[in-house]
């Protein structure tokens, strides 16, 4: 089952490598990884998605919590949450394809953020599923480049991950 784990960690050099290292050391996979400082510059927020059974994820969260740099941790997929992945995708846009790409982008509520004589760069945000669907919908066009931020997420309602 797909899980999203989000954590606050000390914004220190080496902290990220400890988290990433733990995954390879203990045989887990990271599907996506997203990390940036928060409003408190001493803290980074790291969100990652992975796949595993309840038992395995429980063990993983325990191991992550043991890392001295990890201050607080939550599994977002435990409850109602909002998740967003951002994609920039560059596609060939010539001839008939130019109009078709524009139409599909509108349907997905994406934005064309850069226009060239033969290419469009499209920005799309949403769940990972939606982004996957868009890439599939673009199958007819020539995709030149895809870049995704990885999942960032936050719990719904009053629940917060903070100190």
């Amino acid at each position: 089952m797909r899980r999203i784990i989000s954590m606050l960690m000390e914004n220190e050099p080496g902290a990220l490598s400890r988290v990433v290292g733990l995954f390879s050391q203990r045989g887990y996979n990271i599907e996506t990884l997203n990390v940036a400082p928060t409003d408190d510059p001493t803290l980074s927020r790291l969100t990652l998605s992975t796949v595993g059974s309840d038992l395995r994820i429980e063990q993983l969260t325990k191991q992550l919590n043991k890392l001295v740099d990890v201050v607080k941790l939550a599994e977002l997929t435990d409850g109602a949450h909002i998740e967003r992945d951002l994609m920039l995708i560059k596609v060939r846009a010539t001839g008939a394809a130019r109009e078709e790409v524009k139409r599909t982008t509108d349907i997905f509520r994406g934005q064309i953020v850069d226009v060239g004589p033969t290419v469009y760069t499209i920005q799309l945000t949403g769940t990972s599923d939606k982004l996957d669907a868009f890439v599939a919908a673009m199958a007819g066009a020539e995709i030149l480049e895809v870049v995704r931020s990885g999942v960032a997420g936050i719990s719904r309602g009053e629940k917060v991950l903070s100190l």
Binding site: G14, S17, G21, E58, Q59, N65, K66, V68, V70, L163
Partner: protein, 581 residues
């Protein structure tokens, strides 16, 4: 406080931390620190002959005393040589602080001379590590390192120190923090009362209980309380390799070590129990045999300070996260209260039947005390350990290396006190025994310290005989010499039809007696059983000398019992070359 350089801060901080010994080896990147130690530091420095030995010696010191071991090494090869010892300490949860030199800050990342990414290399085998960026951070970082190394589940902490931060001409205000608080690090201080109550009830309702005691009982200073608990309830106790001495080994309630080379009665009792109280143990694969078949009828209460150790391999029915000492104290209180309310628990009849069953197992397959097979004049390895036990009245510190001799020592030297049995259980590091014994002897100079080893292991850190000369370490080395890498050979005998691939030395072994003498020690060769006790006594009579006893043993002997793998359960064991359960 006056102004101090980085090097002086380190020297002073180690004093302020109450460090008794620094184990280390100088080199370019740590020369400023060594100069500061030389000029003004009350903490003696022990110069080893290889950095791996510095970590093992600090480790042996830490295991015997419960205090953190301190290591100082230079950058590059100094740091990488320390890695095996850090990993050894990590696997067995030993408190250790390793100060490693680093090249100057502006050279980092440039593949400078003797540069290595120590933080990166050590990352998976440390509890935490620090890269020092500013000299004035040194006192706080050192305080934090000791705090992390010693609290919660202990472990090694590395501090990487670029050379320029220790230079003598850059001085700063120094004050050593008395306490330290970290928002991201707060190990459990006590167990959950509700869980402990549940555990007390389950424990008292058990008909076939067993206490499974691990290294955490020793590291967490829980031996006394565990012994009190076991005696109050008259429940049988078994112990892991790391937990030996946590409960008195010569007590009839003790069933011996469990696991791969555990005692028959210990493994049988585990398999047939209905309630296991696991304390400071981690259900290691050398204990459980096939996990799916592990103790099918048992409810499991698991006490550990590390939540990640609980339900990692075997699901706990009642998990209790907390320090062994405080949880056991509360558990005892709860049990007292329950017994006061109901005198009928634990049920005496059921417990009597359980003990009767255990005694039957014990009588059927007690450990071998004579010759198991064949007729020869050879000394059996077990007899050597028994002779050592006799000569030291069971009261020595015994370190060991890794292999058959380690298992024989664990089986045949019943430890009555915690911290007396010092071996690399988790990582299984050959070469551990001699340097570890040096650390123990420094901590307890008036106690007997024996290193039980084999001719394979001892050669992995044999250079430390020179360190022993320098510091007059009157260790007794008990070399169980079978002219083979014994445990490798045993597996080859059992699983590879006796093909002894690279497990013999083809007559290339040194004359250990002469070798010991070359370092200024005493060497004694023992080849006949009739000479064994005499030689052992003679060795221990030489109080102020290191004696190397090179004892020729029967090379054909295997360690039994031995779990049958793969797919065996706790009670599936080889009992000899041709008998099995």
């Amino acid at each position: 406080m006056g102004l101090l350089s980085g090097g002086e801060m380190i020297a002073r901080a180690l004093e302020d931390e109450g460090v008794e010994y620094i184990f280390g080896y100088p080199g370019g990147a740590v020369l400023h620190i060594y100069d500061a130690l030389f000029k003004d530091c009350k903490v003696p420095h022990i110069l080893v002959r290889h950095e791996q030995a510095a970590t093992h010696a600090a480790d042996g010191y830490a295991r015997a005393t419960g205090k953190p071991g301190v290591v100082l090494v230079t950058s590059g090869p100094g740091a990488t040589n320390a890695i095996t010892g850090i990993a050894t300490a990590y696997m067995d949860s030993i408190p250790m602080v390793v100060l490693a030199g680093q090249v100057q800050s502006h050279l980092i990342g440039e593949d400078a001379f003797q540069e290595t990414d120590m933080i990166g290399i050590s990352r998976p085998i440390v509890k935490h590590s620090f890269m020092v960026k500013r000299t004035e951070d040194l006192p706080l970082i050192i305080k934090k390192a000791f705090h992390i190394a010693c609290s919660g589940r202990p472990g090694p902490v590395v501090i990487d120190i670029p050379k320029d931060l220790t230079r003598p001409d850059a001085v700063f205000e120094y004050s050593y923090p008395k306490t330290v608080k970290m928002r991201s690090y707060a190990p459990a201080q006590r167990g959950h009362t509700g869980q402990i109550k549940k555990a007390a009830k389950l424990l008292l309702a058990a008909k076939r209980p067993i206490i499974y005691s691990g290294g955490g009982v020793i590291m967490g200073d829980g031996s006394e309380l565990l012994t009190q608990l076991a005696r109050k309830l008259n429940y049988p106790v078994t112990s892991t390799l790391m937990g030996l001495g946590g409960f008195p080994g010569s007590d009839p309630q003790f069933l011996g070590m469990l696991g791969m080379h555990g005692f028959y009665e210990a493994n049988m009792a585990m398999h047939h129990s209905d309630c296991i109280l696991a304390v400071g143990a981690r259900f290691d694969d050398r204990v459980t045999n096939t996990v799916d078949k592990f103790c099918p009828g048992a409810k499991i209460i698991h006490i550990d300070v590390d939540p990640a150790s609980i339900s990692k391999i075997v699901m706990a029915d009642i998990p209790i996260v907390g320090p062994v000492h405080s949880v056991l104290a509360e558990l005892l209180t709860q049990i007292d209260a329950l017994i006061e309310k109901d005198q009928a628990v634990p049920e005496k009849g059921a417990l009597g039947r359980w003990w009767q069953q255990i005694e039957e197992w014990r009588a059927a397959q007690g450990l071998f005390t004579g010759r198991r097979y064949g007729e020869s004049d050879m000394i059996m390895p077990q007899q050597v350990i028994q002779s050592l036990y006799r000569a030291t009245k069971g009261d020595a510190y015994v370190t060991s290396d890794v292999g058959q001799h380690q298992m024989f020592a664990a089986q045949y030297y019943p430890f009555d006190k915690p911290r007396r049995w010092i071996n690399s259980g988790g990582l299984g590091t050959m070469g551990f025994g001699l340097p570890a014994a040096m650390g123990v002897k420094l901590a307890f100079p008036d106690m007997e310290v024996a290193c039980v080893t084999g001719e394979g292991s001892i050669q992995m850190n044999i250079q430390e005989l020179s360190t022993c000369t320098q510091y007059n370490s009157a260790i007794k080395i008990i070399n169980l010499r079978n002219n083979n890498l014994g445990m490798v050979k045993q597996w080859q005998d059992m699983q590879y039809e006796g093909r002894h691939a690279m497990s013999t030395y083809e007559d290339s072994l040194p004359d250990f007696v002469k070798l010991a003498e070359a370092y200024g020690h005493v060497g004694i060769e023992v080849k006949k059983l009739t000479d064994l006790d005499g030689a052992m006594d003679a060795a221990f009579a030489m109080k102020d000398r290191l004696v190397f006893l090179d004892i020729f043993i029967d090379p054909m002997e295997h360690v039994y019992p031995m779990h049958i793998a793969p797919n065996g359960s706790m009670n599936d064991m080889w009992l000899s070359k041709n008998e099995r359960t």
